[in-house]
Amino acid sequence: MKLRWRIASLPVLLPLLFSATVYGIARTAENHPDHPKIVLKSQRIDLPRGNLKFPGDAPGARAASTYCVMCHSRGMIDAQPPLSRDQWEAEIHKMRSTYGCPLSEGMDEELVDFLFQYNHKTGSVSSSR
């Protein structure tokens, strides 16, 4: 759905690439002969859900698939560089105390175990450059 939305917007946007106006600072738009009037119409978009499931049946994997993905996709975790156990513990603490993750503290050790091991399989070792 997101893809469709993007494709639909292409014809509107492509002509802009070829516009050759000289742009001043905070120019008054209405005084500019080339300025197309921007007509606002109601918009709707369907956002992709992303991958929400971590592999495996370990308690830590199930916790990650339940709690981590309440606010962000698995991709956010997949993209992390290799982090230490302490760093994962700090992340879990931040998610609970700052953002309100309802994970009970009794689950922390299993989730740290899982994220640490998972991250060391997936974590990007060097930057993507």
Partner: protein, 335 residues
């Protein structure tokens, strides 16, 4: 970098997208939408989009929008967070109205200290701090900060914050609140989570510290200058002479010059600057290089801005992965 090689403006459908909170309205009705302005103002008002478009003078401004964590993936040692390459930035032509005009219309009370901006996104959990950013009153009424409804001469796309997005020229994108529907003038310095605890940088030159070092932290603010080679990527094979081109921006002021090097920074020559689209815009540049050496080498570009700030040659580091502005390098092979 290839998307930035296509022109000085970044197409909206190629613009990076990043939201903070997971509950994002997926539908906006233009007739019922209201922008509420309240707090330390004489006439608290809810404006319709129609009023904003017709009762205020429209303005346009070219400005770079760059995520505070752009290039975080290149930090060494690595830091957790959104692991961006260099693509979390773009240059667009924004259309909207001056925040100053809006605040003048509602009338500021004498006690006004800061202005808070809140968008329609919210957390999944009630405990999640709502995403709110604040600017000093003097900044808010500087005539440059905009409430934009247009991006690249078209309506603001949903992904970029339809129907309204705050535009804070020269400042990092964390202040460019998307789906803006609430402006509150307050009589104190905002201490909400997103100003007090998040998006903090070391109060040191280039926001640079050593890992473990503890210093005073301040909210991230103005952007430093940056430049990028856009037509040559790592491991390219080039025949001498060759043309190198790219983009630069000055951050909070215009681009003064761009220097390029074909030998990892030993010798530099000036690039030719393309047309000026405004001091907050990308500026394209070109240079023809004719080095004598052959084989593997490193190309560099280095911009300086009109305030005299020049890109550093050593990368900065801080635990948030913010404010990378080092002169970037591209490895190539010359034949």
């Amino acid at each position: 970098m290839s998307v930035f090689d296509r022109g000085v403006f970044t197409p909206s459908d190629a613009f990076y997208v990043r939201w903070h909170l997971a509950s994002i309205p997926n539908e906006i009705d233009v007739d019922s939408f209201r922008l509420r302005i309240h707090g330390e103002v004489k006439n608290p008002t809810e404006f319709s989009l129609e009023q904003l478009q017709h009762d205020f003078e429209p303005v346009q401004l070219a400005a770079v929008n760059q995520c505070s964590g752009n290039s975080r993936g290149f930090f060494n040692p690595r830091v957790p967070g959104g692991e961006w390459g260099n693509g979390a930035m773009g240059n667009a032509l924004w259309t909207g109205i001056r925040l100053k005009d809006l605040l003048q219309r509602v009338g500021l009370k004498a006690g006004a200290v800061q202005v808070r901006f809140n968008g329609m996104d919210s957390g999944v959990r009630p405990e999640t701090p709502d995403f709110i950013k604040a600017l000093d009153i003097s900044h808010a009424i500087d005539g440059e900060v905009m409430v934009a409804y247009g991006m690249n001469d078209a309506p603001m796309p949903m992904l970029n914050g339809f129907p309204l997005r705050l535009v804070v020229p020269g400042w990092f994108a964390t202040y460019w609140v998307k789906m803006l529907n609430d402006i509150e003038v307050i009589d104190h310095v905002d201490d909400n989570f997103w100003m007090r605890s998040a998006y903090l940088i070391p109060d040191t030159p280039e926001a640079n510290i050593k890992p473990g070092e503890r210093v005073k932290m301040v909210p991230i603010n103005r952007m430093p200058p940056r430049s990028f080679i856009t037509n040559i990527s790592n491991d390219a094979q080039l025949h001498v002479p060759f043309v190198v081109q790219g983009i630069a921006f000055g951050g909070d002021s215009g681009v003064a010059d761009v220097m390029v090097s074909a030998d990892n920074g030993s010798q530099w020559q000036s690039a030719e600057l393309d047309r000026d689209c405004g001091k907050y815009s990308f500026r394209r540049w070109t240079a023809r290089l004719n080095p004598t050496q052959r084989g593997t080498t490193t190309l560099m570009s280095r911009a300086s801005n009109l305030k005299g700030v020049e890109q550093p040659l050593q990368a900065n580091w801080n635990p948030g992965g913010y404010m990378r502005a080092v002169a970037e390098r591209v490895r190539v092979r010359l034949a």
